[in-house]
Every structure is written in structure tokens, then in C-alpha cells.
């Protein structure tokens, strides 16, 4: 069943549909919340709030999957910003600890930790520039490990179509990332990515 159908059923008070929707989108929310907060407990709080907001706004959200994911990411980002504004000092300490390797035992040296952090931020920036559908496909494919058939079912598209989209998404991601790495700190990758985007 596609995500759009699930949303429609949930709007008609189908609890199973709502449960399935939550199961599908909680990983997206969780991952994004953790990427922002870098703390399990804070991410749990954030994910709880966002999923409750999802329920409250189920009637207003565009039922297409990329729009749902985009809406959820926006809510995560806004709520994370609220939280960080309130506790920026703590966050600063967390970042400091992170750079010192306290929170990341795999980082053996400060330089390694810094490099890793820079890469992480760069990837997140690149993902922000991608079209919502490309981004969602990449996340489903490479983070959640969904197969093309499953993705096609959720989006109500053909597997070939999904293959093609995935290929384009990877290519755009790669270009944007290379550009961002090459021009790190000098310019925004925004315009560059847009220039290279394939026509819709």
C-alpha cells in the first residue's frame, strides 16, 4: 500500500493504517532527530514531539511520500532549533565533548574527529539541496535498506522508474558533494547543485 493511501486511510480513522505510517516514518524522524541532537535521549524527546505533531496535522499534510518526509524533517529542524536555542550552552558543551572524542570513542585524534564532523555537516548540507524525492529515495535505499520493489510499492511507481530516479539521485549527490568538498568554505553549493539538476 502506498504512503498516500495510508494517509487517506488514517484520516478516515483506520488505526492500522496509522500504525503502519508510524512504523514507516519513525526511522526517518529518528535519524534526522539524532543527526541534529547527537544525543539519544534528546533525540527521543524530539522524535516523540514530531510524531505527535504528525498525528495532529495528518489532515493537513500532503499525502505524497516526499512531502510527508519533507514536512517531518522541517518539523524536526524547527523543534531542534527551538531546543538548541534554549540550551545552546549545553549543546556547545556537547559539541566540545564531541570534538574531544568523549562522545565518539571511535575518534582517536582531534583531527580525525574534526574531519569526520566536517564531512557529516557537508553531507547534511548536500542532502538539504537535493529535491525531496531524491533525498527520500537515497535515505530509504541506503539508510533504511529498502529494496527497489518496496520503494516502488510505497510510491506507486514502477521499479524501472525508481531505478532511474535512484541513479539520478546518486549522480546529483555525488556532484554536489564533490563541489562542496572542492569549494569548502568558499561558496555555497546551492547554486551549483541547482545548475546540475536534471530537468523535472
Amino acid at each position: 500500500m502506498t504512503d498516500a493511501e495510508l494517509v487517506r486511510l488514517a484520516r478516515e480513522h483506520d488505526s492500522e493504517a496509522w500504525k503502519t505510517l508510524c512504523g514507516r516514518y519513525l526511522p526517518v524522524v529518528w535519524r534526522y532527530a539524532y543527526a541534529h541532537m547527537q544525543d539519544v535521549h534528546l533525540a527521543e524527546d524530539l522524535a516523540s514531539e514530531v510524531m505527535l505533531a504528525f498525528l495532529k496535522n495528518i489532515h493537513q499534510i500532503d499525502p505524497n511520500a516526499p512531502c510527508i518526509a519533507g514536512w517531518l524533517r522541517t518539523v524536526v529542524r524547527n523543534k531542534a532549533a527551538d531546543h538548541l536555542r534554549q540550551s545552546y550552552r549545553i549543546k556547545g558543551q556537547l559539541q566540545l565533548l564531541s570534538l574531544n572524542g568523549t562522545l565518539r570513542p571511535e575518534s582517536t585524534a582531534p583531527a580525525t574527529a574534526l574531519e569526520s564532523e566536517e564531512t557529516r555537516v557537508r553531507v547534511l548540507e548536500v542532502l538539504e539541496q537535493l529535491p525531496p524525492k531524491h533525498r527520500l529515495l537515497l535515505e530509504w535505499k541506503y539508510l533504511e535498506g529498502l529494496r527497489v520493489r518496496e520503494i516502488a510499492l510505497r510510491l506507486d511507481e514502477s521499479e524501472k522508474g525508481i531505478e532511474a530516479l535512484l541513479y539520478r539521485a546518486r549522480r546529483v549527490f555525488r556532484r554536489c558533494f564533490d563541489l562542496a568538498e572542492h569549494n569548502s568554505g568558499s561558496a555555497s553549493t546551492d547554486s551549483l547543485c541547482e545548475e546540475k539538476l536534471p530537468p523535472k
Binding site: 500504525k19 526511522p27 527521543e44 516523540s48 521499479e159
Partner: protein, 922 residues
């Protein structure tokens, strides 16, 4: 990499994760996984969140359906005039999707703006109409009935054959009482004690049976008694649960000629079944109720039997009082109760008081109190007007909370002479039965110092000592008590005592503005002799700015934590320690963990929010019904209901608890507002028998040195008092007095037990109340006594510079050093090294006890040349008694060894102030 010119449709389907031909594949995977790597979602969090989301989803569905159902049930013209109002938000959303999405992008945005404006306007109009749109139904009517203190029904069964029969029923959820009178039958059900009393007119006895069922639900047993199963043979069978199922309901507006007003006609079909073992036999009943649209309370009802040619009409009235016992239903007072109560359940207040210590003719009334211990609440059924249903519904809708925050006038004071005599007789018989003789009555000087310390918190000054000792009147002690109770110092002292009882220790109260406001508020109440139950009610209903409202400190000091408030409330006001049941069932008492959290469920909506003013930042305590209190950091799910933590899975949200009063089992439904919850609890609490008993025991322990129960705040149904008749008698009379604390204190002060000589605390084998027990002075008593002895004042207290902050003042430092837990018995409060050092070496005391021109000591040494007179003066000042001959001789001997007269008497004053006699109240 895939060639650019290759068609994407030619690609093979992707069934494997790896695509070796695409170099971007691995890189993208690696980068994304490193950037967005997140630990696995913990199963506890996932399960808890999913549970919450499902519950929220179900809640939203119910809400939406209720709105839809109500909308369908009402046949009103506005629906046809404004059809957009009927559409639910989901319908609006879905309806607005398809046409817009089919438009081009440029036009879509324009239409979105237009539709948003139209939707907003429609919503605005809908809200305007919707907010005024009432909803009537079975559930709303039940909720309105629950809010009434008493509901009375007079039902009349009219059958085609046979005579008509009539029966009257009373029901009170707050009092936990169901009573019914039909012909010769009298049934009284005490839901708090789970006892059914039935009058057997043939044998002229009352049969009592405990209810085996664990709990009786309002929707089941109680409503069935009122509406549905009256007439069913199983109606009086409380042992089997009743199940009520609403099959159908609809309503419409009608104009009642009989009542001359527009009413709501609610037609319901309910299925009522009595569960009898595995069988569930029942019948459907059609009810037509007329409901007052203002109060949502039923005026009358008509039950139609589907299988019998009969009709039952029921009239409702809502009196303010109802029957307090089965005797109020017309059962003769001489009819004894034939108990057959199982499980060893105590019948504390309904049995005849024929205890051994009352065997010799002391008249003690039969204490028949159910729910409200005050006989004022007990009205014979004969006195309750049968026709209380006038044209408009004569209901007793909930009184606004603000009115409960006001103090009511006390009834005229009771005469305490007879009561004092009764208590004295009871205790003397008690001592006689124990084979002991009490100690002698205290001397006037001992009594004087004791009563001054107990009532106004300081020792008497010399002129007061002489004035009392020279008074030849036989009633001088009573007059002294009256005089002290009328002084402002008494209110101040009582406020200091109750502050230590009400506020927890170890909490920095200065961040809430200190205790000055709280002390002043309490002192004002005690000074105006506000009834004790009113004070408690005002405490529990407090709201407003913390810095401006005295009673709010009670909640603020407990950090608005529902568990802490519940523990403190039960402990202080009911003398029941429930906190052991917070994490597990009470190991020694009957209290279950659920009961503790049900009590805490009265307080989850008390919240604090910052209150900004032009001058200072403050906090405001409010009832937050929408979101509940802000969850602490370790709590994940904000809720307006109290959740009992899951011990097996601490990360789970926990179980939602219904507010339920543990002593009676009475409850309020979920969703009740904070104000109503606290008001209901305050009413149940102050009407409970243990409320009066707790304060009587506490004040007796405070004044006599030992309570009826071993621990002042650990009484309750599982404890046995040492003189049960005396404590019951005092509790009942205290309730009769309108909870008049001054009257209670005066009564205790006039008893022989209070006025006997003091002896050290008895051992376990000793007889209680044979002597007054010495107590260490509280910090305020000690500080005030130092001021009195040294003729100093608060402003110039011990020559200390005035301090802005109360905790840095000498009094504040004394409070820190001499504070002790008010829950422990006074003799257990031993002196500590800091306390000894504070009196021996503190600069303030040393400076005050020295010879300089500003001190009273230099004045006395200069003005009184005779050593013996000066010795007597110092003894009267410090110990409120003249010195004995031996003491005079000892001082004279010490004087002969020193040539410096001033230093000798400074040493004497210092010794007296540091003596155990000065630091104790004997």
C-alpha cells in the same frame, strides 16, 4: 557509471543492494551512513511511543466521532443554513485536495490562497456557532449528576394490574452513599466501607453485609439504582456487578407544559444486566428523560418496560443534604445492627461505643457518622422534603471554586465544660483499669510557663508571673487560657507551628519569596479563628502568584510534584502515611500502590508559569488543563493526567490513573479540570472522619506531649489508639464545633491530662497520659523566650543588626539550628552540639548576657541591691518560678567566692538560660 545516453528503462531491476557497476553507489552509501548514522531505536522507546501514538489516535477518533454524532443528533436549522459547519476537518482537507492538485502550479498557489481565506472565514463562522452549540447526551447527564452532592429520586411504578408503588432513593458520590426507602424496606449502602445495611422490619434488626466486589462503579451499580433496575429483583443484590450498555440515544428540544420551560428530551435505550456467575441475564430498558438545558441535570424520567405492561416515572431533586445512616431512613434508633461483616472489616463509626473505659456510666453518644462525621450533614429522611422538584430544576450545581476559598462563619462555640469532664472521667477510668495513679496536678507556676509556651510561644514576663500567682480566683487557669487564645501572639505562634508541619524540610523557600507571606496568611486565619477545614480547603485550592499569595507556598515548596503533594496531603490532613505505597504496596497497611497514585492523580494539572511584572520576576501557580504540567527532564510524554510509572519498564509512559480518594473509593473522571479535582478532593478530605481525628491527635500530642496514636501522622484504620473513646469523642465534638481550632485547644488545655505535672516520657510499659511530657522548645519558642527573659525586642534582637533576608536574621539562624522533623515525637528531638554551642557561645547570646548599659542585666544589678531578691528576679525571668532554698543557698555560696557582684549574676543568668529547664517546656 551508467552512460548518459543509455535509456533508464533498460536497466535491470535492482534486487541486490550492491551495484558494482556504479562507483557512486558505494560512495553515496558510505557518506550517508556516516553522516546520518544513528543508534538503533531502543525497543522501550519505540514501544512506548507507538503506544502513545495509538492512544492519541484513538482519542482523536473518538473526539471526532462524538462531534459528528452530536452534529447528527441535533436537528437544528443552522445545519442547513451553514452546511460547511458540518464538514469535519478531514472532509475539508480531502475535499480541497483534488481540484487544487489538478491545477497548474501557478494557479494552484493562487487557489490555495483563496481556499485558505475561504476556509479561515468558514472556520471562524463555524467556531462562532460551534462554541455556542450545546451537546446533550447520556454521558453529559451522568457527568452532571456526578457533580451533585446529593441526588434524590422519587419513582412511581404504575402497572396495569395491581396498586402503584413508590420508592425514594438518595445517592451521593462524594459521600459514597446509596440509600433507598420503599414501603417497609430500608437499604443503606456505604460505598466507602463497602457495607450494605438492610433493615429487617419483621425481626426488627439491621443486617450488615460487606460487599465482596472489589469496587463499585458509578456507571454500573449507582446509575442502575437510580434509573434502570429499580424494580428488578436483583436490584438490591450488590454482590454481583451490574453492566450497563448504552444501545441508542437521541435528543430533541421540547417545551414542557408541566415545567413551563424548554427542556431537552433525551431518549435512550440501555441494556442492564446483572452478572450472576458466568451468566449475564438482563433486559433492555427505554428511558425518556427530560433534562434542564442549563444544568444538564434530569428533571424527570420515564422508564418503559418492553416486556411488562407497566411504566415507571422518576422525579429528580437535588437536596443539599441526605441521609447519613440507615437510622435517618426511619429505622428506630434502638434497633441494633446485626453485623455479619466479612474480612474482619472495621466498623469504626457505626458501632455502639461500649468500650471498657466507658463502663461506669459515662455518657458517650452513639457516633453515627458516615462520610461526613459532622452530624450537621445527617438529616432524617423524614425531614427531607419529598417534593423538591419545582418547575425549574432545583439543583445544587457546583459552587464556584472562588467561593470555597472564602472563610465561613463558625457556629456558636460549644460549651467545653461538660466535654472536659467527660474526657477527664474517661481517662480516670482508663487509669483505674490499668491500675495506675496519675501524677499530681502541676503547680501554678509550672502550668503558667507551660501554657504560655504552648499558646503564645514564649515564657511569661515577670509581671505576668506575679499577676497570675497572685490571682486568688479558682477559674484563673481558664481565664488565662482564654486570655492567651485571644492574643495575636497565639495566632503567630500557631502559624509557626503549622508552618513546620505543612512545609517540607530541606527546601530553599527563599527562592519562592520566603515564608513571611505564608506565616502571615496562616496567622491571619488563626487570628480570625477561621475554621480548620476552611483553612485546609483554601490551601488546597490556592492559585495565583507565589510571591503574593501565602497559601501557594504549600504547593511551591512541594515542587508541584503530584506524588509529593499526595504524600503530604494524606500525611498532614488525614494522618495517613501513603508514601510507602508510591513504589510498592504498603508493607504493613492496607494501602495499595494504585491508591497512592490515584490520590496523586488529583494534582497533575497544577502548573507553574513565569509571571512577569514591571518590577520583579515572579511565578504563578495555575491549573493547566490543556497540557498538564510541564514534564520534568526525565519524563517524555507530557500529559494532563497522572501516570503511574511502570516498574518493569521505566521508559514506558506508565498507567493513566483516575483520581480516586483512597478512603472512600470515590473518584472523579478523567478530563476533570484542575479546579474541580482539587475542590472535590478538598470536600471529600475535610468531610472524612479521619480529618478531624488527625488534627485532634496532633493537637493533643502537641499539648499533652503524647498523642492517642504513637505517631502524630501515622494513624488511620490500621492503627489502634490508646484511649479510643476519648479520641472519638473529641473528634466528633471538634467536627460539631465547626472545626474550631481555638475551641479544641482550649478544651485540651482544661483537661486534667494537660494540667498534670510533667514526667519524662513513659516507656512502652507505662500508662499514657498519666503525666504531661516535657518537650524541647521549638526554635521560635526558644528565641521568643530569650527575648522575654532578656527584655529585648525583635528589632534589637540580641543586639544583632537588622538583616534584610529572614534566613540571616538571628531568628532565622535559630530556626536553622533548632529545627527538627515535626513528625517525630517531641521527646525524640534530642539536643545537638550545634544547638548547645549556639546558646553557649553565639555572639548574640553572649553579648546579650553581659553587663553593658544597654542590657537589662546591668540595670537589674544596679537597681536590686539585695542578692536574694536579684536571684529571685532572675529565676522568675528565666524559669517563671521562684528559686528553691537550695538554689538560693547555692547562689549565695557562689557570690561569697567572688568580689565582682555583676559577674556573679551574669554567670547565673547565663547558667539559667543554658539549663535544661529553660530549654524545655515542662
Amino acid at each position: 557509471m551508467k552512460p548518459e545516453n543509455e535509456s533508464w528503462n533498460d536497466l535491470p531491476p535492482d534486487d541486490s543492494d550492491e551495484r558494482p557497476g556504479d562507483p557512486d553507489e558505494r560512495l553515496v552509501r558510505q557518506l550517508m551512513q556516516s553522516a546520518l548514522a544513528a543508534p538503533e531505536i531502543t525497543s522501550g522507546f519505540s514501544a512506548g511511543l507507538m503506544q502513545t501514538l495509538e492512544a492519541e489516535f484513538a482519542h482523536s477518533v473518538v473526539k471526532t466521532r462524538q462531534e459528528t454524532t452530536n452534529g447528527e443528533a441535533a436537528h437544528h436549522s443552522w445545519q442547513s443554513l451553514a452546511p460547511v459547519n458540518l464538514a469535519t476537518s478531514s472532509e475539508l482537507a480531502i475535499a480541497s485536495e483534488s481540484p487544487i492538485l489538478s491545477l497548474p502550479q501557478s494557479n494552484r498557489r493562487f487557489y490555495q490562497y483563496v481556499m485558505t481565506g475561504v476556509a479561515a472565514a468558514a472556520l471562524f463562522l463555524a467556531l462562532g456557532i460551534w462554541s455556542n452549540r450545546p451537546a446533550y447526551g447520556w454521558a453529559e447527564m451522568l457527568a452532571a449528576l456526578e457533580r451533585c452532592t446529593w441526588v434524590q429520586t422519587i419513582s412511581r411504578l404504575v402497572a396495569d394490574q395491581g396498586p402503584a408503588s413508590e420508592e425514594t432513593a438518595w445517592i451521593s458520590r462524594s459521600q459514597g452513599v446509596i440509600a433507598r426507602r420503599a414501603g417497609e424496606s430500608r437499604v443503606f449502602v456505604d460505598l466507602g466501607r463497602k457495607v450494605v445495611m438492610e433493615f429487617d422490619s419483621k425481626r426488627s434488626t439491621i443486617r450488615e453485609q460487606s460487599i465482596v466486589k472489589d469496587s463499585l462503579s458509578w456507571d454500573g451499580e449507582i446509575v442502575s439504582q437510580l434509573l434502570a433496575v429499580q424494580g428488578l429483583p436483583e436490584a438490591t443484590n450488590f454482590q454481583n456487578p451490574t453492566q450497563i450498555k448504552l444501545v441508542r440515544e437521541s435528543w430533541s428540544r421540547v417545551v414542557s407544559e408541566q415545567h413551563q420551560q424548554e427542556l431537552i428530551e433525551l431518549q435512550v435505550t440501555i441494556h442492564v444486566a446483572k452478572e450472576n456467575g458466568a451468566n449475564l441475564a438482563g433486559e433492555s430498558r427505554d428511558l425518556v428523560l427530560l433534562i434542564d438545558p442549563q444544568t444538564e441535570l434530569p428533571v424527570s424520567a420515564r422508564a418503559v418496560f418492553q416486556d411488562r405492561p407497566a411504566t415507571r416515572t422518576i422525579r429528580f431533586s437535588y437536596p443539599t443534604k441526605g441521609p447519613g445512616s440507615i437510622y435517618a431512613l426511619g429505622v428506630p434508633a434502638e434497633v441494633p445492627a446485626n453485623k455479619s461483616v466479612s474480612k474482619g472489616e472495621r466498623i469504626a463509626f457505626t458501632e455502639k461505643t461500649t468500650e471498657p473505659d466507658n463502663a461506669n456510666g459515662v455518657i458517650v453518644d452513639n457516633l453515627v457518622v458516615v462520610g461526613d462525621p459532622s452530624p450537621k450533614a445527617e438529616v432524617p429522611a423524614a425531614e427531607i422534603p419529598a417534593d423538591q422538584a419545582p418547575a425549574k430544576v432545583a439543583s445544587n450545581p457546583p459552587v464556584p471554586v472562588s467561593e470555597h476559598r472564602q472563610s465561613r462563619p463558625l457556629p456558636p462555640p460549644l460549651a467545653e465544660d461538660k466535654l472536659v469532664e467527660q474526657v477527664n472521667t474517661i481517662l480516670s477510668q482508663f487509669w483505674q483499669a490499668q491500675g495506675v495513679s496519675p501524677v499530681e496536678p502541676a503547680s501554678d507556676s509550672e502550668f503558667l510557663r507551660r501554657v504560655y509556651l504552648d499558646l503564645i510561644g514564649r515564657i511569661p514576663v515577670v509581671s505576668e508571673v506575679y499577676g497570675f500567682l497572685d490571682d486568688p480566683g479558682e477559674d484563673r487557669r481558664q481565664r488565662l487560657v482564654d486570655d492567651l487564645l485571644s492574643r495575636r501572639d497565639h495566632a503567630t505562634h500557631l502559624a509557626a507551628v503549622w508552618r513546620t508541619i505543612l512545609l517540607p524540610e530541606g527546601v530553599d523557600l527563599n527562592r519562592f519569596g520566603g515564608t513571611n507571606k505564608f506565616d502571615a496568611w496562616l496567622a491571619d486565619r488563626f487570628g480570625e479563628n477561621v475554621a480548620y477545614d476552611d483553612i485546609v480547603r483554601q490551601l488546597l485550592l490556592a492559585e495565583g502568584r507565589v510571591s503574593e499569595s501565602g497559601p501557594l507556598l504549600f504547593y511551591a515548596a512541594l515542587k508541584l510534584n503530584p506524588e509529593e503533594i499526595a504524600a503530604k496531603t494524606s500525611r498532614v490532613f488525614l494522618g495517613t502515611r501513603m508514601e510507602c505505597a508510591q513504589c510498592h504496596d504498603h508493607p504493613y497497611d492496607r494501602w495499595k500502590r494504585e491508591q497512592f497514585h490515584e490520590l496523586a492523580a488529583f494534582f497533575p494539572r497544577i502548573a507553574v508559569r513565569p509571571s512577569l511584572s514591571f518590577t520583579r520576576r515572579s511565578f504563578e501557580v495555575v491549573g493547566s488543563d490543556r497540557f498538564g504540567r510541564r514534564p520534568p527532564k526525565n519524563e517524555r510524554f507530557p500529559t494532563a493526567e497522572h501516570l503511574m510509572p511502570d516498574l518493569e519498564n521505566p521508559q514506558a509512559p506508565g498507567t493513566k490513573m483516575e483520581p480516586k480518594f483512597f478512603l472512600t473509593g470515590a473518584s472523579v473522571p478523567w478530563g476533570t479540570t484542575d479546579a474541580e479535582r482539587r475542590l472535590q478532593l478538598a470536600q471529600w478530605l475535610t468531610a472524612n472522619e479521619w480529618f478531624a481525628t488527625a488534627v485532634v491527635n496532633r493537637m493533643w500530642a502537641e499539648l499533652v506531649g503524647e498523642g492517642f496514636y504513637p505517631t502524630v501522622d501515622d494513624i488511620g484504620p490500621d492503627r489502634t489508639p490508646v484511649a479510643p473513646t476519648a479520641v472519638k469523642l473529641l473528634s466528633r465534638k471538634f467536627a460539631e464545633s465547626g472545626y474550631d481550632l481555638k475551641w479544641l485547644i482550649k478544651t485540651i488545655c482544661l483537661t486534667e491530662a494537660y494540667q498534670r505535672e510533667s514526667r519524662p516520657a513513659r516507656g512502652t510499659e507505662g500508662t499514657p497520659f498519666a503525666a504531661n511530657v516535657p518537650q524541647r522548645l521549638r526554635s521560635d519558642q526558644l528565641f521568643n523566650s530569650l527575648l522575654s527573659a532578656l527584655d529585648s525586642s525583635e528589632e534589637l534582637s540580641l543586639r544583632a543588626r537588622p538583616q534584610r533576608m529572614a534566613q540571616f536574621s538571628p531568628r532565622g539562624r535559630f530556626a536553622d539550628v533548632f529545627a527538627y522533623d515535626p513528625s517525630i515525637s517531641r521527646e525524640e528531638a534530642v539536643s545537638s552540639i550545634p544547638q548547645v554551642l549556639a546558646l553557649m557561645n553565639s555572639p548574640e547570646v553572649n553579648q546579650a548576657v553581659s553587663l553593658n548599659r544597654r542590657n537589662v542585666l546591668e540595670e537589674l544589678v544596679n537597681e536590686i541591691p539585695d542578692d536574694e531578691q536579684l536571684t529571685t528576679e532572675l529565676y522568675l525571668r528565666c524559669l517563671s518560678r521562684p528559686p528553691t532554698a537550695a538554689e538560693i543557698a547555692a547562689v549565695a555560696e557562689y557570690r561569697s567566692e567572688s568580689s565582682n557582684r555583676g559577674e556573679v549574676f551574669v554567670d547565673l543568668a547565663w547558667s539559667l538560660l543554658n539549663s535544661a529547664e529553660f530549654q524545655h517546656r515542662r
